[in-house]
Symmetry: C2
Subunit: 480 residues, 2 copies
């Protein structure tokens, strides 16, 4: 395919993409295929000779679309949202064309510098403390990670490296392998599975702190565990707070937890993967109070800020902490500007070496929506969740299982877990909408997350009618 | 921006991308900007109100392009290539529109299943042993990782988990923290910095094995270190072999190393990040002989197989090894088909949770080029490297520093390291072409890697004329 054919095919693809997104609600949100469906639809081996583009494109509807879960359908209410916007897609096209691998400043200065400045823009939108901004002389700064899982892992590894150095400064004859077995990290019992996984990868003990009735970690709970662990000779070094947990969008009480972590020299990382986007609205910003105590902070613009996956924004107060944990300098990666204070080599900030020019997406989205447009988008989703909450509350058969603060509603039929499991099975089986469950205080709960950019009140109303109807059917079948 | 405007702007962007790539050689390959150049070109904060698309697009040439290192310019000979092709870009547009987050089969069955089948296609193109293929009943299979760094880390962590379980089976009272300090992993002293970094992250000792005159690890060298380490009470558990090292594209002797690793129950991972693509050509496939001894294998189609970054292909012989190391099953990620043998939940195979629909790129590229087209592409690059090698060899002032096997030529002026450092500085300073150095056996060496898809003989000839001219100037300045 030469450039001339790309011009033609690219424009066709733009229309296909626009058609797909304009008409997505006509497609069944969750597919009917059975595991293994795809293999029989295509050859067993790659073709020897080139095929025509027409042949490939025909297969999108034949092979791919029947097996797609349509995350951008306004009938998709599962997991958390993943962002999708036209400006971000345009930026991604440009990113693909430039195709630089920005592991160092020299590998493409624009790639590195736009990222640093965009993370400053975003940090200011969130009113992060200045410590987290790079500016021209800051000691902190931001970076785009692929996912929140990687941000948590990077924070944990940086904290591990920092505590080891700290202990070795006082006890030079203690080796890493003497220290690591004593280290202990903490998170909420509501924290995402990726936090526990970060502990596994880093080879450190990870303990879960019990949450209160609102599924939040409180200062007292952490304090108690810390005292026990110190008494047992363990070394607490890392606490991952969650703002907006995956099960119920609960918020750990960082104004209580932060001072404890600071006093105990425990690295506090804040994972606000989903909820973080909302902090650009003044009315939600108080939920981030306590950020001043954190060492690192992360949220995913690729969830709720209209920036296509992947784009997970992470900030640290001291970039030297994160760089110090991983720095490797082979000759083939050195460059002339290495030692200058203005230069950032992002490869030291992340697990992979290579990286795409993802800040273009932030730049396009921030400018094409403006701060006000982004705030309006967040508010619309929260409004839709509140609307759904009212519908649930108006129906005596149902209960709300957790405070509705953002775009997530946790609800269930009053009654047994089995009843709710059956209801969910029927909802997903009907294929009209798609939800996933969670477990809260031993109860099986349905999660209704407002996800798609194009979800409107009529979709939420329709979803509720559907759920309510299925619930009626189910309840009628029960013996009285 | 609504769908109608996206149709218009998307088509303009397609033309911009085509223009950029068609005319890329008119742009200076390496930018002139100084660190910090970008910040002053744009506002300090995101706009409150939305801006027009025209304003954003104008800034691409004003703000971004002056700071871009043009990796796809035929004058770019630095690092290793990063792939870029029109079919891959079209697939990426589709991937962005679908925008699913394929962490589990249910999160988008097509995303998971196309990946499994494409990795089988690719495995067959490389003539991998059947053990590595998923098929319908295989115990192995492939996965797309973001980068080779992640593949190495995943392999090391899986090996760590496996050896711990193995030891604990015999010694149930040994804890992880008893075992990890005794573990030792190995790689070539020529291995990529990411291998050492994987050891750091995994908290295990990592030793470098000396290489022979051709910069290859040989069986004897590994054997010797293993004996010493076993005698010292250490537990060897992981060896990362490199096929196509970053400094000089050297090949570890896996036919010697593999049987040793197998006999010693050491996990052998093969990192062929760059060179792996060439194994689709029968004449290069013998370099992969010994793969049958490996537990895991990885290479980057995003380097040399015309699939835009990121797309790093990894295969394992026993998927249970890799899944067992990381599996976490919170309720919100469970789905009905969880337990079926045909279902793959790729989140257990990787560090991040989320993942894009990257197999679309493989599918488009394999079909639009065909195996023959891809082989021709590899052969063309190797031919260009051989052409450059001949030019160097014909000039008595220069020497070739390592065998030229693929698209990389390591060369230097006969003389001191300082002389060669100055030559490289002048080459990069002149901004006509871009190279990076490496160190081989204490010598400062220039690397000439054929990178761009559009590099032709005339570019190589031009590059050599330029280098030769700068060398003449430099040598004339020296006192005799």
């Amino acid at each position: 395919m030469d450039a001339a054919e790309f011009r033609r095919r690219g424009k066709e693809m733009v229309d296909y993409v626009a058609d797909y997104l304009e008409n997505i609600e006509k497609r069944q949100v969750y597919p009917d295929v059975e595991p293994g469906y795809l293999r029989s639809l295509i050859p067993e081996e790659a073709p020897e000779e080139a095929e025509s583009y027409e042949d490939v494109v025909k297969d999108i509807e034949r092979v791919i679309m029947p097996g797609v879960t349509h995350w951008h359908s306004p009938y998709f209410y599962a997991y958390f949202p993943t962002a999708n916007s036209f400006p971000a897609m345009l930026a991604d096209m440009l990113c693909g064309a430039i195709g630089c691998i920005g592991f160092s400043w020299a590998a493409s200065p624009a790639c590195t510098e736009l990222e640093t400045v965009m993370l400053d823009w975003l940090g200011k939108m969130l009113k992060l403390p200045d410590d987290f901004l790079a500016g021209t002389e800051g000691r902190g700064g931001g970076v785009i990670q692929g996912t929140a899982s990687e941000a948590t892992l990077i924070a944990l590894l940086a904290a591990r490296s920092k505590i080891i150095k700290l202990i070795q400064a006082d006890h030079p004859n203690q080796s890493e392998t003497d220290i690591i077995p004593k280290l202990v990290a903490y998170s909420s019992d509501q924290a995402h599975s990726s936090v526990e996984r970060a502990g596994l990868i880093g080879g450190v003990r990870m303990k879960k702190i019990s949450t209160d009735k609102k599924f939040s970690v409180r200062g007292e709970a952490l304090k108690k565990v810390l005292e026990e662990d110190r008494a047992a000779g363990l070394i607490p070094f890392f606490f991952c707070a969650t703002l907006g947990t995956t099960p119920s969008c609960a918020f750990d009480c960082i104004t209580e937890l932060g001072p404890i972590c600071n006093a105990e020299k425990i690295w506090m990382h804040i994972d606000a993967a989903y909820a973080g986007s909302a902090f650009i609205c003044p009315e939600f910003r108080p939920l981030l109070n306590g950020i001043e105590f954190a060492d690192s902070f992360n949220f995913n613009p690729h969830k709720w800020l209209l920036v296509n996956f992947d784009c997970s924004a992470m900030w640290v107060k001291k970039r030297s902490d994160i760089i110090g944990a991983f720095k490797m300098e082979p000759l083939y990666l050195k460059h002339d500007h290495q030692e200058s204070g203005l230069v950032t080599d992002y490869r030291h900030w992340q697990i992979p070496l290579g990286r795409r020019f993802r800040s273009l997406k932030l730049w396009f989205v921030f400018r094409m929506y403006g701060l006000k447009g982004l705030q309006a988008y967040i508010r619309k989703h929260v409004g839709l969740a509140k609307e759904f909450e009212s519908l649930v509350r108006a129906d005596q058969r149902f209960e709300i299982s957790a405070d509705v603060v953002m775009g997530l509603v946790c609800f269930r039929l009053k009654g047994s877990n089995e009843l709710n499991e059956t209801l969910l099975k029927r909802i997903n089986g009907a294929r009209k909408i798609h939800l996933v469950p969670c477990q809260l205080a031993g109860k099986f709960v349905l999660r209704f997350a407002v996800c798609a950019r194009t979800t409107e009140s009529r979709h939420v109303q329709e979803a509720w009618c559907h759920i309510s109807h299925l619930a009626s059917e189910l309840l009628q079948e029960l013996p009285h």
